[in-house]
Symmetry: C2
Subunit: 421 residues, 2 copies
């Protein structure tokens, strides 16, 4: 390996890690991006894979391909077990070590279960392509099983979505649509009134990051799709086939989808002696460097990034992308002997979609767009951010189909493991 | 359930089973199609999924959707454990029974291992979408692992394809192309000369069902793609990470792909006291009925269908489709009190593709088409037979991309099972 200057190791190939790589592509430093998957996942559309609207390949893109044109960027398939920050090296799962001059922690977030008994075993999160595929198989198999049982008895089927944030709202809406299509077109022998999608939240409204008018709009649209929204409900346990609430109710479920919140992913952040911020995130200064070392940076969902109002930036894709891009520029400054400048998050607004034809967007200045216009804005933005041109085209084709309600859709149950014959 | 006339139970939703269903759609009989998968798989393109050229959804189509418009056809997700032909009923895995007036066995074929030790454990077949996904993950992971090891040592990687029929030839060609793309564009640190694709066969030529000129052409084209073809090689054992030949050679392998032959799938055919034909297939008369009962039919790969020359029809998609369509027409004749007419297979020729731009086709009258024209014929035919319009479009887009060599392609490793973090 020829010496191309400082070696930057980026752990994680999500929005933040990819943005770091893009910012450093064709620069004077060498970069190694490490991820346990060989692809980048477009997380905002994962719920569509889970509800059979999109295929895994629509929302994933090989990391090697993203950086195919940049000779200074390498991809390393693997998992970082430990950071030896005294020796400036990371230790991988297979025991090999990688020295770094700069380390960027971009390990993202994962589902937070808040210690609720059974939640991590029985509830289904939605933070990886494997999660999405597993959830899709569960949903479709539940419908098939119910169809079989409906020959002999009256069957009820309840899907519970925990969490009324964007992920919960989007998943509940898409799930209700999937069920409607399955009942109407696939000829399942189920009574539509006995197949329920229930969205529960502890708060008294949906989408608490949005203005109240957006919350009311989302609730109305979900109700129209057949989703039952229940507020003020506190989950105390998840069991196999059931969920328990603080008021004593036990609800039998075909699946519990966990969209209740996130925490920084994995042990890497905790293993480093970095001051942990809220939600288990790595504490960082205004230039996203950790107190542990001048050459350790944390970006995206893994970092508790200070915001202008004295609080922390939300764990959103735009924050991840901006912080990654910023981090790349600062590493280049440091390698040139310059001092860092503080990170400033530029609020681009937030969006959530409800089913196929409605969405809400909160604009940076507080305005709200909703309805079909909101949906088109949501569509355009997501297509724009999808990594490759090919993926954009595929997703557009899939959505066009769904929009016009054509009788297809990849509702396949591909088993995780399969016994012979 | 209202009585719509005779109840036809079709076991298997492959080419043959779907053809039976299509032939009986909107007729006077009730039909139940049983399959352990909720989708039909377009098997001729499975090797493309295994070599990351296509996605699972490109070659699979929900069975319910295929028959969404036919009120007399039901889909039942499940596995038939046993046929109680005395009682005219099938018993499913979950213990439930289904009465039939006519039973159609369309359970297809699966890999034949010929009792070779280790083959069923360590060699990888290609007869289901799950097989294809597993093989793809194995291939891509082997490349990633080799890339990591290449940091420290000189790495060799050998993929062995067993069997020189169409499946073996197509898989070996596509695999060589996948490796070439990975080395050239993904920047893997492997020495191209040390990554081998070896195709072995016991015979002394490829594609024995084709004329010799086609065999020579296929061998030349494979060699051009970098595939080593070895004839007269007898496999005596498959081990974890190795294959053994009769001449004593032991070859270390990253994967052994099994395309050596097929046998009728599953225990259903054997469980019935039907006269078994060659390759474990159900023996049938000229009207595809089994000796076991006047109302038990076998079609497609599961049946040893007599051919005009006194032998048996090959296990090919056109035979499956024609026999399924024929069976439907005969069941309707029988329900009308008419007698059956014998099945006649209309030979439409056979085809195999070698890589992205070459194919050979043997025409019904013995002529051979090859080269780009052969490839275009192959492409057109396969697109034509792909079930849904949407799938055709998706596949066409994918192929266009591949043909023009654009730097994308869904080379994703989506783990079967994944540990948290």
């Amino acid at each position: 390996m020829t010496d191309l200057g400082a070696h930057v190791v980026v752990v994680g190939g999500g929005f933040a890690g990819i943005a770091v790589g893009r910012g450093l592509a064709n620069s004077s430093v060498r970069v190694t991006i490490i991820d346990k998957h060989n692809f980048h996942t477009f997380l905002p559309l994962l719920y569509q894979v889970a509800t059979a609207g999109l295929e895994p390949a629509d929302v994933a893109y090989p990391i090697r391909t993203i950086f195919g044109g940049a000779p200074n960027i390498r991809f390393r398939h693997g998992r970082v077990r430990q950071v030896d920050h005294g020796a400036n090296a990371v230790v991988l799962d297979d025991g090999s070590r990688l020295d770094y001059d700069h380390l960027v922690i971009a390990t993202g977030a994962t589902a937070a279960y808040f210690g609720i008994p059974g939640a991590s075993q029985y509830a289904m999160p939605l933070y990886s392509l494997a999660d999405a595929r597993r959830l899709r198989n569960r949903l479709l198999l539940a419908l098939e099983d119910a169809d079989v049982r409906a020959e002999r008895e009256s069957v009820s089927l309840t899907f519970v979505v925990v969490g009324g944030g964007p992920t919960g709202v989007e998943t509940a809406g898409a799930l209700a649509e999937l069920i409607a299509i399955a009942l109407r077109r696939d000829g399942l022998r189920l009574d539509a009134r006995r197949v329920r999608v229930v969205l529960v939240d502890l708060a008294d409204r949906l989408l608490t990051a949005f203005p109240e008018s957006a919350s009311r709009y989302a609730a109305r649209e979900l109700a129209e799709l057949g989703v039952e929204v229940q507020f003020g409900r506190s989950v105390v346990a998840v069991e196999e086939g059931a969920i328990r609430f603080a008021d004593g109710e036990r609800l039998e479920t075909a699946a519990v989808i966990w969209a209740a919140g996130v925490t920084a992913s994995g042990t890497l952040v905790h293993g480093l002696a970095v001051a942990a911020g809220p939600g288990g995130r790595a504490g960082v200064g205004a230039d996203l460097r950790c107190a542990t070392g001048e050459n350790i940076w944390a970006v995206g969902d893994a970092a508790a990034i200070p915001s202008a109002d004295g609080s922390f930036c939300p764990q959103l894709a735009p924050v991840a992308i901006q912080s990654g891009r910023y981090c790349a520029s600062q590493i280049l400054r440091v390698t040139r002997g310059e001092s860092t400048t503080p990170f400033v998050y530029r609020n681009k607004g937030i969006m959530a979609t409800i089913g196929r034809r409605a969405a809400v967007a909160k604009l940076p200045r507080g305005g709200v767009i909703r309805g079909t216009l909101g949906w088109l804005a949501w569509l355009g933005l997501h297509l724009f951010y999808l990594v490759g041109f090919r993926n954009r085209l595929r997703v557009l084709i899939n959505w066009t189909w769904r929009y016009f309600d054509w009788p297809s859709g990849p509702r396949l149950i591909v088993a995780d493991a399969e016994t012979a014959e």
